[in-house]
């Protein structure tokens, strides 16, 4: 069975290392914060200008002046720092954030990502996504493997306008965990009960299936 949003988030959370500064995008990426492994501590960066983002506030502590990049009211942990958006993106652009997790419409075998614009539909803007993908050494895309009509979102070449070129190296879908290497998707782990044939059928771009593909486990 394909993975739930929560399962996808929990699998990605296993990639977190103690001491990582992490930027989590809106949507499923945000859920990753709920599955941080025991013994691992990360500091969340919010690109509007907050390092050390805490949980949502209570009715008593809610403050209009304390929001995250998704414009949600949040709190700051002890040891947080707050700064301008220029400083925040200096941090991001300068490669100081250890891991970025974000969603996408499409990715391709070259590591290109399209996540912000569907021609003919209303364009709302890229926000900080282009800055994040252009700069992070370490990016994980979380997305469904195919759209609701069954069309693959892992392509030989992105069809939508790009968010960034050649920047994606790891992908978490509802069917699999994959890496992007040398112009191909490499299958690393399958969702429990999902066959390699199904993944192959739903992957439009070149797919390499090594011998050591494992099945994910969830406790």
């Amino acid at each position: 069975m394909s993975l739930s949003r929560e399962q996808m988030a929990s699998r990605v959370a296993r990639e977190l290392k103690d001491g990582y500064y992490v930027n989590l995008g809106i949507g499923i990426p945000t859920l990753v914060a709920n599955y941080i492994p025991q013994g691992v501590e990360v500091m969340l960066q919010s690109e509007n200008g907050l390092l050390g983002m805490g949980p949502f506030p209570t009715e008593e502590t809610i403050d209009a002046d304390m929001i995250n990049a998704g414009k949600q009211t949040v709190t700051a942990i002890t040891g947080a720092s707050i700064f301008s958006s220029a400083e925040s993106f200096a941090m991001i652009r300068g490669g100081h954030v250890d891991l970025t997790v974000l969603g996408a419409f499409e990715v391709d075998v070259n590591g290109d990502i399209a996540s912000w614009m569907i021609p003919g539909k209303l364009i709302k803007g890229m926000g900080g996504a282009m800055d994040l993908v252009a700069s992070a050494e370490n990016i994980i895309v979380i997305m469904t493997h195919a759209d609701k009509h069954g069309n693959s979102k892992l392509l030989e070449k992105c069809t939508l306008p790009l968010t960034g070129a050649g920047c994606i190296k790891q992908i978490m879908t509802d069917l699999a965990w994959l890496t992007v290497e040398d112009g191909a998707f490499v299958l690393r782990e399958t969702a429990p009960g999902i066959s390699i044939d199904e993944i192959r059928a739903k992957t439009a771009g070149k797919l390499i299936v090594p011998d050591d593909v494992r099945e994910m486990t969830f406790s």
Binding site: N34, F56, R93, M126, D131
Partner: protein
């Protein structure tokens, strides 16, 4: 020090000189840290044909969104313009021009404008629609595009506390784009929650030195919340 007293008597004085067709940089992110009273004054003035540089364009009926009601804005330069139906209508009707700019590039362009850096290279946007028509160059194996600075006729910013010399601090994440915006206007107008005595702010803790501020006014703020997210337990 009369020559350094930036306090103006009212909103009319704060925005005096703003004319049709001018450009305005506005601080704020979403509805957080926006100069509510200065935006309201621009609406009252009815100035039209404005080019506005701001990360967002407010929402229907609040923030920069209110400037759309009387079609005062000709062009928005923003990274995200989602939450606004009037914006959508005017955009689709061709009444409003939009230049989408990545959030970090927008912040850096304002900073560059204020800092006398006319242009800089960045990897952000290379190979995307943002990079089209821009000069590109490879540095240490990373493809970059050349982005130019933003300056404007006016900058409108919102701070928490300032002394009458314009030395200011921002509260929590209401800082966002305000410090860069403050540096990049030919005339920078700052609206604050509280005017304090010179010396009350720690000199090394000042976010915006008064040299950037031309006019200062104390306002009252609604501080509307765009997404009220609550955790009863304090857990996310």
């Amino acid at each position: 020090m009369a020559g350094f007293d930036k306090v103006v008597p009212d909103y009319a004085a704060a925005m005096a000189g703003l004319e049709d067709g001018m450009s305005v940089i506005a601080g704020g992110f979403g509805l957080c840290g926006i100069p509510e009273g200065l935006i309201a004054q621009i609406k009252r003035m009815g100035t039209t044909g404005l080019t506005v540089y701001s990360n967002n364009c407010g929402v229907d009926g609040f923030g920069l969104g209110i400037l759309l009601e009387d079609r005062q804005v000709k062009k928005m330069v923003s990274s995200y313009v989602g939450e606004n139906k009037l914006f959508e209508q005017q955009l689709l009707a061709g009444e409003l021009e939009v230049e989408l700019t990545p959030q970090g590039t927008l912040a850096e362009k304002m900073r560059a404008g204020g800092a006398g850096i006319p242009a800089f290279f960045t990897a952000t946007g290379y190979g995307t629609p943002v990079g089209e028509g821009k000069e590109s160059r490879c540095f240490n194996g990373v493809n970059c595009i050349l982005e130019d600075a933003i300056t404007a006729d006016f900058s409108i910013v919102k701070a928490w506390k300032a002394d009458r010399y314009g030395n200011a601090i921002y509260r929590h994440t209401a800082q966002n784009f305000n410090p860069m915006a403050a540096t990049a206007g030919k005339i920078t107008v700052m609206e604050v929650e509280e005017i304090v005595e010179p010396g009350e702010l720690d000199p090394t803790g000042i976010h915006t030195p008064g040299i950037y501020v031309d006019r200062l006014i104390q306002g009252t703020f609604e501080k509307r919340i765009e997404q009220r997210t609550i955790s009863a337990s304090g857990g996310a």
